[in-house]
């Protein structure tokens, strides 16, 4: 898989969309892979007892999926510098998480992408992700 080069990135460019079906398996496997054992991420009864309608994605996973969404597009050599996420509605098991993104700024070597992750209830995550491309020698 190739990594984008400077001339392939334009401000305003739109990233290809990514849809993730949030099966219970996705919710539980990512919770465990991120070492988050809070019941609301794997125990339906426990989640309902706390007033949630089902188990839902944990934040460490949201961060991971946002990172993945951007590196899927940039290619493997891009270096993620910063991920700022504003969290919105929960992403429940059974829902679908749709990512879209736009390149919004370039500041020297830093590119910033605005990412929005939507579920049926609204925005689950609104993020800005800043990355740099590898320097020419290593590209």
């Amino acid at each position: 898989m190739r990594t984008l080069t400077e001339d392939q990135i334009e401000i305003g460019a739109v990233l290809p969309e990514l849809s993730i079906d949030l099966t219970p398996t996705v919710v539980v496997s990512t919770a465990l892979a991120t070492m988050d054992f809070t019941p609301v991420h794997h125990d339906v009864e426990g989640a309902r007892a706390q007033g949630s309608k089902d188990i839902f994605l944990n934040i460490l996973t949201t961060m991971g999926l946002v990172e993945r969404y951007v590196t899927d597009w940039t290619g493997p050599e891009a270096i993620i510098r910063r991920i700022n996420v504003k969290l919105g509605v929960p992403a429940y098991a059974g829902d679908r998480l749709d990512f879209n993104g736009t390149v919004v700024t370039q500041d020297g070597p830093d590119y910033t992408v605005e990412v929005r992750g939507k579920v049926s209830l609204g925005d689950h995550a609104t993020a800005t992700v800043t990355f740099t491309l590898p320097s020419d020698e290593t590209a």
């Binding site: 892979a33 070492m35 007033g51 961060m63 993945r68 899927d72 969290l87």
Partner: protein, 309 residues
């Protein structure tokens, strides 16, 4: 004109200040060093096909926090300065919790074999605030991950809202509750609000001399004409000045929120909220586009969002 005296919530704020004064409290080293099996497991669960992490033997940046997660049986010895504040909030009835912000900066990749440790600093408690979920406090803390040395690998700002859950009532709240800050209208201003309902930003123009004017009024101050018309603004503008409202709580609003004086290319200014962007991203000169928000079943307000290219 704001109160300087103590209020009941000051106890919580005092505790928060005390915890903040502790500064950075360093936790013990992670149970496991950065390792290939956990990275592979994480990539698999995320559906991330990026092989470079495994090839290079580095942790995916967003995995930073995973290395120092406490595990299933959380010990008491690793209590951070945050825990006491959250416990005090629980005790005060703010039992609900929802995370609002997670901001991570990655200074360098964590390499396989490195054992990370996390240092936590409680950085602030703000409240009580009226929110859509109920009255609550925003608690913010910062975590820095270190490798073997003293240079940070990654850091994170994390904010949660601890709220007092509303009692369940028969009808769903919020959406049908009338918005309390309704604009007064009369025959001189009704055209503006009618335009807003149709998704238009109408600027009064003098039917005789053409002068534009906002806010509108019954007489043209330039030529005394009472013949009025309007133009539909392009719906673009720039921030001329703005404020971030934190305190006191405002009915029908969640704090903090941004109000701006927006300068339109048509040559008039108008006041409105800047939405869809964090308050600290707003600045004078920021380019905006108009957007229309239903505040309840009747009231629609014109607002402003960052202009996207």
């Amino acid at each position: 004109m704001t109160d300087l005296d103590m209020s009941p919530g000051d106890e919580l704020l005092e505790l928060a200040e005390k915890q903040a004064a502790l500064g950075e409290v360093r936790g013990g080293p992670a149970a496991d060093p950065v390792n290939i099996p956990m990275i592979r497991h994480w990539l698999d669960a995320m559906g991330d096909a990026n092989r470079s992490y495994l090839d290079k033997g580095v942790s995916p940046p967003a995995m930073a926090q995973v290395w120092t997660m406490p595990g299933v049986r959380r010990g008491v010895k690793d209590r951070s300065p945050v825990d006491d504040v959250l416990a005090a909030l629980d005790a005060a009835g703010y039992t609900g919790v929802v995370a609002t912000n997670c901001e991570q900066t990655y200074h360098r990749p964590a390499r396989v074999g490195e054992r990370l440790s996390a240092a936590t600093r409680f950085s602030g408690l703000i409240g009580p605030k009226r929110t859509a979920l109920g009255e609550g406090y925003f608690a913010t803390w910062n975590v820095t991950w270190y490798g073997e040395g003293d240079a940070p690998v990654a850091e994170m700002m994390f904010r949660v809202l601890k709220f007092r859950p509303r009692r369940k009532s028969g009808t769903p709240a919020a959406s049908t509750a009338p918005y309390p800050l309704r604009p007064a209208q009369n025959r001189d201003t009704a055209f503006f609000w009618e335009g807003v309902r149709q998704g238009e930003l109408r600027i009064q123009s003098c039917a005789d001399c053409g002068r534009l004017r906002h806010p509108p009024g019954p007489v043209c101050p330039s030529c005394r004409s009472t013949s009025r018309s309007y133009v539909v603004a392009r719906g673009e503008g720039t921030v001329f000045s703005y404020v971030v409202h934190h305190h006191p709580p405002v009915p029908g609003r969640e704090t903090p929120f941004v109000v701006a004086v927006v300068e339109l290319p048509e040559g008039v200014r108008i006041v409105g909220n800047v939405v869809d962007c964090p308050p600290d991203a707003v600045g004078i000169g920021m380019e905006l586009r108009a957007t229309y928000r239903a505040m309840d079943d009747e009231v629609i307000l014109p607002m402003w969002a960052p202009r996207e290219s």
